[in-house]
């Protein structure tokens, strides 16, 4: 009996543990194939961003001035006897017409591609004889390495923007909705003033006053932060509406009757009730920041050369002539597309799971 009881307790404990640890696995089972694919994509992109120096083959700003607009190079598997030299090889390319920028591969020569060498996933012996997996840009820089480094900016800009906007929006919205009265009135009028700021001219003014010694990446994140500080208003108004409807629910009334402090009610009752919506809205607004980054680059406010972001890499594909002759410069667009779609699918899925009331 004793033994049996202990075993039962053990079993129960194991079941609880199993239920807890299997949270992610259960979510994985519940998710559709699209959502799984999205999650893998995003995980991969964040991995690229976190370990850019490893994944990139070369310094993303190194200009190989003999090889502008080089097309993606072929890759071949070495014979097993040559695996000591490298698993793969490519044929070096050189430009045969500098005006039209056409390249020919030198089939008589082999350029070995080394895996896990000098801290890179794959690279060649020298930057001077590179392997351009996705081709090169107009200054002869490796497009693949630039995309890898560009993921740092493009994948982070959404997170930072959303983090600032939503933490401000939730706090201010919940306060305003729960407290009501004059506080609500003042906060809401203030948010209306912020919403009516013409953001374009605001950005132009910002560009003129930013100290010139800052690096472009620091400048850019400062602008994203400032833009987030002024864009919380719209979100706060929705949260405020939800909060003011929650405050008259019986459980909130009960908490108040039991003498709970205002702070406790807001943090324990109001915010959790709007969090589901907030997470969904946040996920769905990240793509907006990613796309917005490329628009800012055009104004001279985004990431500037030689630093890379997916937005400014794609900006080179604006010219129809360039696009027709060097179609691989469109590849960063595929990455933007995948990231934006993944966030959207994931957001939709989260809405189904967290906030079923608003999903169609």
């Amino acid at each position: 009996m004793n033994v049996d009881g202990a075993m039962q307790a053990n079993l129960q404990g194991a079941a609880v543990a199993a239920r807890q640890t299997s949270g992610i696995a259960r979510e994985w089972r519940l998710a559709s194939r699209t959502v799984r694919f999205s999650a893998i994509c995003l995980a991969l992109f964040y991995l690229l961003a976190a370990a850019s120096p490893f994944f990139a083959s070369y310094d993303p700003t190194y200009q190989n001035r003999e090889m502008p607009d080089c097309p993606p190079m072929s890759i071949h598997l070495n014979a097993p006897s040559d695996w000591s030299r490298g698993l793969f090889y490519t044929h070096p390319m050189h430009m045969n017409d500098p005006i039209a920028r056409t390249f020919v591969a030198d089939a008589s020569r082999r350029l070995d591609i080394h895996l896990f060498t000098r801290g890179h996933l794959f690279t060649t012996d020298s930057e001077r004889e590179p392997y351009f997996m996705l081709g090169s840009d107009g200054l002869g820089r490796d497009l693949y390495s630039r995309i890898v480094y560009g993921s740092r900016v493009s994948m982070c800009v959404g997170l930072i923007g959303v983090l600032i906007t939503f933490s401000l929006g939730i706090t201010i919205g919940a306060l305003s909705g729960y407290i009501g009265g004059t506080v609500d009135f003042l906060i809401m009028r203030w948010s209306e003033i912020e919403m009516s700021l013409p953001s374009f001219y605001f950005l132009l003014a910002l560009a003129a006053v930013i100290p010139s010694g800052m690096s472009t990446v620091a400048t850019f994140f400062m602008i994203v932060a400032i833009m987030s500080f002024i864009s919380w208003a719209g979100f706060a108004r929705i949260i405020r509406g939800m909060a003011s409807s929650v405050r008259s629910r019986p459980y909130v009334e009960a908490a108040r009757a039991l003498g709970a402090s205002r702070w406790r009610i807001i943090t324990r009752h109001i915010i959790p009730s709007v969090l589901g919506y907030a997470i969904v809205a946040a996920t769905l607004s990240i793509p907006g920041f990613i796309l917005g980054e490329s628009a800012l680059s055009l104004l001279g406010l985004g990431i500037q050369e030689p630093a890379a972001s997916w937005g400014n890499l794609l900006a080179q594909a604006q010219d129809v002539q360039n696009l027709a002759r060097y179609p691989w410069i469109l590849i960063p667009g595929i990455f933007i597309f995948l990231a934006v779609m993944s966030f959207n699918f994931l957001g939709d899925h989260l809405r189904d799971r967290l906030d079923p009331a608003t999903s169609a």
Binding site: I99, G140, S212, G300, Q304, E305, Q316
Partner: protein, 581 residues
């Protein structure tokens, strides 16, 4: 039975498929007129009418009030001027004035007007029209951009007419640029003098004027203007110019200028044959050359020369920016240190700029005045070779040592670092800055590069002076004195240190003197040495670091004969004609 069936299917294919193909082809022609490659019927040749394109609408048809280039181009063929510019020799040549004499003291010029030139209404063009035009230009109530160009030491030119076909202009001092700047359109006094006396000149001949009311004396008269669509011209059958066989000029019967706001659209119109001539952008040259090679379209592509302007990096040497409260920013010491500037000049990788940025359609620039300016360009300057090793050695020798790898300091121990900027919206300049930044950073000098929106940049250059290094371009004219505002130490376009009360450096003082001497010598060939010396000084003292000049191309239909574009304009435009089939 299977054989029969197959037969049927085949005949179906034979009959229907071509029909469908034809239908698709016809409908696509109808839907996408811009995509047609060969025009089946081209009436430009038959009617001898030249079709060209212009990027924007004119703002006025009054040649005196014009400030924009479009209005100037659209009225240019309506009005003749005293002298005109020969785009091949770059010298002034006869226009309304058949010839001119310069007085021995160079303070008076006598213009002898051509006899038999008529206004469109039949009245003769005479000296009274010239005097009237000058009076209007000097009238303070008529705002115009010509006045400063013919004002010498704040004084106007005194003009008088001893007879109907002679005009004498008296200058306060010898002033050579006048022969170029006097190429102003002459206005009809018999029509506009009453209007001017009534004070209505500024409202005359706006773009709402019916085109037949514009009375000029040039090779074409305007017949139709539809806003944002087109301007039509017919030839002036009474035009004074005749060809060598006495034939009437111009040979074309008319011109139509279509207004196409977008250059991509203009390019497509040229490909489809809707316009007859086109000035391709750098990236369009190679596809057009391919079409010539494949004998498509029946067009010619030709290099007509190189850029007449100058595209350069310059370092700020303005003490008003760098000296604050008695403390001098070390940057001022670097940017006025010739050794530092020479090292920078040796870091200018012009070959890469030409290859990477301009697809080899550019040449290195050495002198500030373009080689296209045949008289005033100084061909004897030796370029600073791209040599990072030499640059590093020069910096070391001048006391700028490498403190640790990647960090170079000045003799006082300050880290070398400067801001670099250019205007946004020009990918070429952006790429040039990226190349320069990479090379300079390889010397251990930190470069903070950020392009700025054009108006912000101009504000920094001309009022706040808050910049270190900038890549900027200037357009160039034939008359070097037009750049006086840039060369002169007191000029407001003297970018590196504008509006100086007195020259900061001895070489700037020398440039000021050379400018005065150059302007008062009338003979172009005797003037040239002064401007050659100015270019030599700029090259030696390096206030500006020249980069490259783009090659200019022009393309036109093979059926257009005698079309001779030059960088300074069309040569003998009156001789243009379409080949008779």
């Amino acid at each position: 039975m299977p054989a029969r069936l197959q037969m049927k299917a085949e005949s179906w294919r034979k009959r229907i498929l071509p029909a469908i193909t034809c239908a698709i082809a016809v409908s696509s022609l109808a839907i996408f007129p811009g995509c047609r490659v060969n025009r089946p019927v081209n009436d430009h040749e038959k009617n001898q009418i030249l079709y060209t394109a212009m990027a924007s609408d004119p703002r006025t048809f009054n040649p005196i009030l014009i400030t924009d280039s479009t209005s100037g181009a659209l009225t240019g063929d309506l009005f003749e001027s005293l002298t005109r510019l020969n785009p091949v020799t770059t010298l002034p040549e006869a226009g309304l004035a058949e010839k001119w004499d310069i007085a021995p003291d160079s303070k008076a010029i006598t213009f002898h007007l051509r006899h038999g030139v008529k206004w469109f209404d039949g009245r003769p063009v005479n000296a009274r029209d010239v005097l009237f035009t000058l009076d209007v230009i000097y009238d303070p109530k008529v705002p115009n951009s010509i006045r400063p160009a013919i004002t010498i030491d704040h004084q106007r030119i005194i003009a008088e007419a001893p007879d109907d076909y002679t005009v004498v202009m008296r200058l306060p001092k010898p002033f050579a640029p006048l022969l170029y700047s006097i190429g102003i359109p002459v206005m009809p006094a018999h029509i506009l003098e009453p209007v001017w006396k009534a004070g209505n000149f500024n409202h005359t001949w706006g773009i709402d004027t019916p085109p037949d009311k514009l009375v000029g004396n040039g090779p074409y008269h305007m017949t139709h203007y539809a806003q944002s669509q087109l301007v039509r011209y017919d030839r002036n059958n009474d035009y004074w110019m005749k060809d060598e066989h006495g034939g009437q000029l111009p040979r074309l019967h008319g011109q139509t200028v279509t207004i196409v706001q977008d250059q991509n659209a203009e390019y497509l119109r040229y490909l489809s044959g809707q316009i007859d001539v086109y000035g391709p952008r750098t990236e369009e040259v190679s596809p057009l050359l391919d079409k010539v090679k494949n004998k498509e379209l029946g067009i010619t592509v030709q290099q007509i020369g190189i850029d007449t302007g100058s595209l350069f990096f310059t370092f700020n040497r303005n003490p008003r920016h760098y000296v604050k409260n008695g403390v001098t920013n070390p940057k001022l010491d670097w940017f006025t240190d010739l050794k530092f500037l020479q090292a920078m000049a040796h870091m200018m990788d012009k070959k890469s700029m030409i290859d990477l940025v301009f697809h080899q359609l550019a040449v290195p620039a050495v002198a500030n005045i373009s080689p296209e300016n045949k008289i005033f360009h100084n061909p004897n300057l030796k370029d600073y070779d791209y040599d990072p090793k030499l640059a590093a050695d020069m910096l070391e020798a001048a006391g700028y040592h490498l403190a640790k790898p990647g960090v170079r300091t000045d003799p006082k121990g300050n880290r070398l670092e400067f801001d670099l900027t250019t205007n946004t919206g020009t990918p070429e300049r952006n790429e040039m800055c990226t190349i320069f930044k990479q090379d300079v950073e390889s010397l251990g000098i930190k470069v903070n590069y950020r392009p700025l929106e054009f108006t912000t940049l101009v504000d920094k250059l001309d009022s706040s002076f808050d910049w270190d290094c900038v890549l900027i371009g200037f357009t160039g004219g034939i008359e070097p004195n037009d750049g006086a505002n840039f060369y002169r130490s007191s000029g407001n376009l003297h970018l590196w240190n504008p509006n100086q009360p007195k020259p900061a450096a001895p070489w700037e003082a020398e440039i000021d003197t050379l400018l005065d001497q150059g302007a008062s010598e009338m003979d172009p060939n005797r003037r040239a040495p002064y401007y050659w010396r100015i270019q030599q000084i700029l090259h030696d003292q390096l206030p500006i670091l020249e980069t490259v000049r783009q090659q200019r191309y022009s393309s036109w239909k093979n059926s257009l004969e005698n079309y001779q574009p030059k960088v300074w304009g069309l040569y003998k435009p009156e001789w243009m004609q379409f080949k008779a089939d």
